[in-house]
C-alpha cells in the first residue's frame, strides 16, 4: 500500500471537519465548562421555588451571570438552592435573591438585587434575604377567596 497524497489530505480534512463539528457541539451549543475557579457557589433558601429547575438562569438587572446548580430540600422543609455565579462579581452580603418568571407563564429564573453593604459575599456563603416564587394559582385563589369574603360581609 503506497501513500496517496490527495486521498490522505481528504481523510485528514474529513477528520478535522468531524472533530470541528464535535467541538462546535460541545463548546458552543453544549457550553461545556472548562473547569477551574471561574464560578463561585452561593446558597439561598426559599419557601417556594414554584418549579425552578437546575440550569435555570441567574440574572442581575436582566443580564445572565450564572445558573442554578442544584435544588434540595433542607431539614426545615425549605428549598435549598445552590447557584453558580461568575466569580469576578463582587456581591455585597445584603444582596437579595428572588425567583421570577419570564413572562406570565414562562420559565422560572433567579434574579439578584445587589445591596449596598461594604462586606462582600464569599464563595459558599448563604444569601439570607430571599423572595419566593409567586404561584399564580395561589394569587388567583386569594383573589377569589377575598372577593367571596367581601360579598358575605
Amino acid at each position: 500500500m503506497s501513500r496517496a497524497p490527495v486521498r490522505d489530505l481528504l481523510v485528514g480534512l474529513f477528520v478535522l471537519a468531524g472533530l470541528g463539528a464535535v467541538a462546535y457541539l460541545s463548546l458552543s451549543v453544549g457550553r461545556v465548562s472548562y473547569g477551574g475557579p471561574r464560578h463561585m457557589a452561593l446558597y439561598a433558601d426559599f419557601d417556594e421555588t414554584g418549579g425552578l429547575k437546575p440550569r435555570a438562569q441567574v440574572v442581575i438587572a436582566g443580564v445572565k451571570v450564572g445558573q442554578v446548580a442544584s435544588i434540595t430540600l433542607d431539614q426545615s422543609y425549605r428549598a435549598h438552592v445552590r447557584v453558580d455565579v461568575d466569580a469576578a462579581l463582587k456581591l455585597p452580603i445584603d444582596t437579595t435573591a428572588s425567583i421570577m418568571t419570564a413572562g406570565l407563564l414562562g420559565d422560572r429564573y433567579v434574579s439578584l438585587q445587589v445591596g449596598g453593604n461594604d462586606k462582600l459575599l464569599q464563595p459558599g456563603d448563604q444569601i439570607t434575604m430571599t423572595e419566593s416564587a409567586v404561584v399564580l394559582e395561589r394569587v388567583i385563589g386569594k383573589l377569589i377567596y377575598g372577593a367571596d369574603r367581601g360579598k358575605s360581609q
Partner: protein
C-alpha cells in the same frame, strides 16, 4: 411436527449466528490491540467509509434539519411557543435523529459496500489465498474496516447534526421569521454537554461498532457464490438497520441519552 422442527432449526441457527458474531468481534478486538498496527489500511478504509459518505450525510442532515424546523414551527406556533424552535430542533437532532439516521445512512452507503467487497473476496477465494500465505484475513481485511466504521460514525454524526442545526436555522429564521437570537439562545440553554452531546457521541460510537461488526461478519461468512454475496449484502442492511433501532431504544431507556 415439521413446523416445530423448523422453528427449532431457526432458533439454533439464530443462536449460532449470534455466537459466531461474538467470536468474530472478539477476534477483531484482539487483532486491533495486537501488533502490527495497520494504519495505512485504516486510513484507506476511513477514506472509503467516511470521506465518500460525506456528501450524502451533509445533504441529508440539511434536509432533516429544514423539515424538522418547518414541522416544529407549525406545531409550536399553536401554543405560541415558536421561540423554543431552536430547542426542539437541537434536542431532537442531537439526542435522537443525528446518531440514528447517520447509522442508517452509513449502513446503506458504506456497510453494504463493505459486505459486498469482503463477500466477493470470499467468492473469488482471495481470503483462502491469504490463509495459504498464513496471513490472518480477519487481521488484514476485516479489522481495518470495522475500526474505520467505528471511528467514522461519531464524526459523521456530529457533521450531520451541525448541518441539521444550520438547516433548521435557515428555515426557522429565514423562512418562518423566528428571531435569530431566541433561536440560538433556546438552543444553547436547552442542550447540556454531558447529557446530550456526550450521549449523542456515545450512541454514534456504539452504532459504529455495531454496523462495522455486522457488515464485516456478513461479508466474511457469505456463501461463496454471486447469489450468496447478494444475500449477504441484503442481510447486512436489514440486520444492521434493525439492530441500530433496537439498540437505540435500549441505550435511551437505560442511560436516558
Amino acid at each position: 411436527m415439521n413446523a416445530i422442527r423448523d422453528l427449532g432449526w431457526a432458533a439454533v441457527r439464530f443462536v449460532a449466528d449470534l455466537g459466531g458474531l461474538a467470536r468474530f468481534g472478539a477476534q477483531i478486538g484482539r487483532a486491533a490491540l495486537s501488533p502490527p498496527v495497520r494504519a495505512r489500511l485504516f486510513v484507506d478504509e476511513l477514506f472509503k467509509l467516511g470521506v465518500l459518505s460525506l456528501v450524502i450525510i451533509c445533504v441529508c442532515g440539511l434536509a432533516v434539519g429544514m423539515v424538522l424546523s418547518l414541522q416544529g414551527y407549525t406545531t409550536l406556533v399553536r401554543f405560541g411557543a415558536e421561540q423554543s424552535l431552536g430547542a426542539v430542533v437541537g434536542l431532537s437532532l442531537i439526542r435522537e435523529l443525528g446518531p440514528v439516521l447517520t447509522a442508517l445512512l452509513a449502513t446503506g452507503r458504506a456497510g453494504s459496500a463493505t459486505t459486498a467487497e469482503i463477500g466477493t473476496m470470499v467468492a473469488t477465494e482471495q481470503l483462502d489465498a491469504l490463509r495459504m500465505m498464513s496471513v490472518d484475513p480477519i487481521d488484514l481485511v476485516a479489522t481495518p474496516r470495522a475500526l474505520a466504521m467505528t471511528a467514522a460514525m461519531p464524526l459523521l454524526s456530529a457533521l450531520f447534526i451541525v448541518c441539521g442545526l444550520f438547516g433548521g436555522y435557515l428555515v426557522g429564521v429565514g423562512l418562518m421569521g423566528v428571531d435569530p437570537g431566541s433561536y440560538m439562545s433556546s438552543l444553547r440553554s436547552a442542550v447540556d454537554f454531558r447529557d446530550d452531546v456526550l450521549g449523542s457521541l456515545l450512541k454514534a460510537l456504539i452504532f459504529g461498532v455495531l454496523v462495522g461488526l455486522i457488515a464485516t461478519y456478513r461479508g466474511h461468512t457469505a456463501v461463496p457464490t454471486s447469489a450468496g454475496v447478494g444475500a449477504a449484502t441484503t442481510s447486512t442492511v436489514v440486520v444492521a438497520s434493525v439492530s441500530v433501532l433496537i439498540f437505540d431504544y435500549f441505550i435511551t431507556a437505560l442511560w436516558g441519552v
